[in-house]
Symmetry: C2
Subunit: 211 residues, 2 copies
DNA sequence: CCCGTGTGGATAGTTCTGCTATCTATTGCA
DNA sequence: TGCAATAGATAGCAGAACTATCCACACGGG
């Protein structure tokens, strides 16, 4: 398969493919001459993955590179690779550590009480603390218990996902599945949350949406 | 309060405040002279909201304008305003409707079976269909049942949120709370999902993260 | 074996977004 | 009186993600 066919099959314009090659998101094709190369199904799949990460996940090129690098690593445990992929998928930046520290103490204690077995330096701990901090800055007076319901939901979802991934034959498929799952199910989860919102608000409000 | 104090209190630089004024995200201050105006607590709160939407929610200026417009509307029912705010919060664009249609038939039927009472033209229905389509294009062979677990989680979360919002004294507070909740709890939910992932993957994998 | 289209690689340009910087004519305040 | 602060206008800038152009060469139907 040459570049024009790769473009036709995936729907990605040739200049964009060249851009991804330049940025090393796509491995070079197999060279047949000084200015000729062929591409295969691996390139098609990788292009599809890139488009999902960029279009659906909203990731930047750097983040995509990070995810792809994590998928490609053969020297790390599955656990590490999953963590690395998750790290690349994070998008917002956080307040300074010293601002976050006191809030993190609270959220960490709450996580502890929940009984989850976690690395003490796991990055999402900071996201959680940052969220609580932002809530308070916007006038909410609350502790980490406000997350209880969300944690129950996340627990149920994650249990199913890990079970699914653990049943896959090889590690590359596992990581790939996890990454796609994270990005796609994120959108699904938000859509479902909105739909459930709509449903429940009908139960609490009258037909005109007034109270 | 003059602009320099507004800047100091919120931490937003003066040129950025001027930019938001230009873009009509912030209402003009009360004029006291040709080149003087004063700002109040409403400006402070609105700036805080803008920063959350932009920094945490990752919304663009246009989307922020949409959310703020929804909050400000006094002629629509709470139900409509919530829908409008949710619409503004959506970020990814979708495949063409004719591509989506057959998949939507499946997801709509599944939503029907779940018993949620929904508007037939509710936008998140498309997000859900688009997700299923993307999953299939990436090699998953599955129906909408794959979302079952997520829907259960979303249902539990949404029930709690609507209950909370319905208990608020006035409508503006309700909309404001819903918007902030959507953006902030989105981050919290993703962080919790990752933490739950970490916990559960320890239960399925051995200490080195291998199987 | 010839020639028009396709190709890889390099370099430069474009568009959009979200700010920043500068300027001008005031105004507030010490 | 004089100097910093202000509103509003205009212009500039940096980063991201492409997109366009160019060149020397290669492929393949006639």
């Amino acid at each position: 398969m040459r570049i024009s066919e790769l473009s036709r099959v995936t729907g990605v314009p040739i200049p964009t493919i060249k851009f991804y090659l330049r940025e090393r998101l796509l491995p070079a094709g197999e060279r047949t001459a000084a200015n000729q190369a062929t591409y295969d199904g691996g390139h098609v799949r990788r292009l599809g993955l890139i488009r999902v990460l960029v279009d659906v996940g909203g990731l930047g090129i750097g983040a995509v590179r990070g995810v792809l690098a994590a998928i490609g690593r053969r020297d790390a445990s599955l656990h590490e690779v999953l963590a690395e992929a998750h790290r690349a998928l994070r998008r917002t930046d956080l307040p300074a550590p010293e601002v976050l520290a006191p809030v993190r103490a609270e959220t960490d204690a709450w996580l502890e009480r929940r009984g989850w077995v976690l690395d003490p330096s796991s990055p999402p701990r900071d996201d959680l603390a940052a969220t609580l901090l932002a809530l308070r800055q916007l006038g909410w007076e609350t502790g980490p218990e406000i997350f209880e319901r969300y944690a129950d939901a996340a627990d149920a979802v994650a249990a199913a996902e890990v079970e699914h991934v653990a049943g896959l034959p090889d590690r590359e498929a596992a990581v790939r599945t996890m990454v796609i799952g994270t990005v796609l199910f994120e959108r699904a989860l938000l859509a479902l949350r909105r739909l459930a919102h709509e449903h429940h608000s009908r139960l609490h409000l009258d037909d005109d949406g007034r109270r």
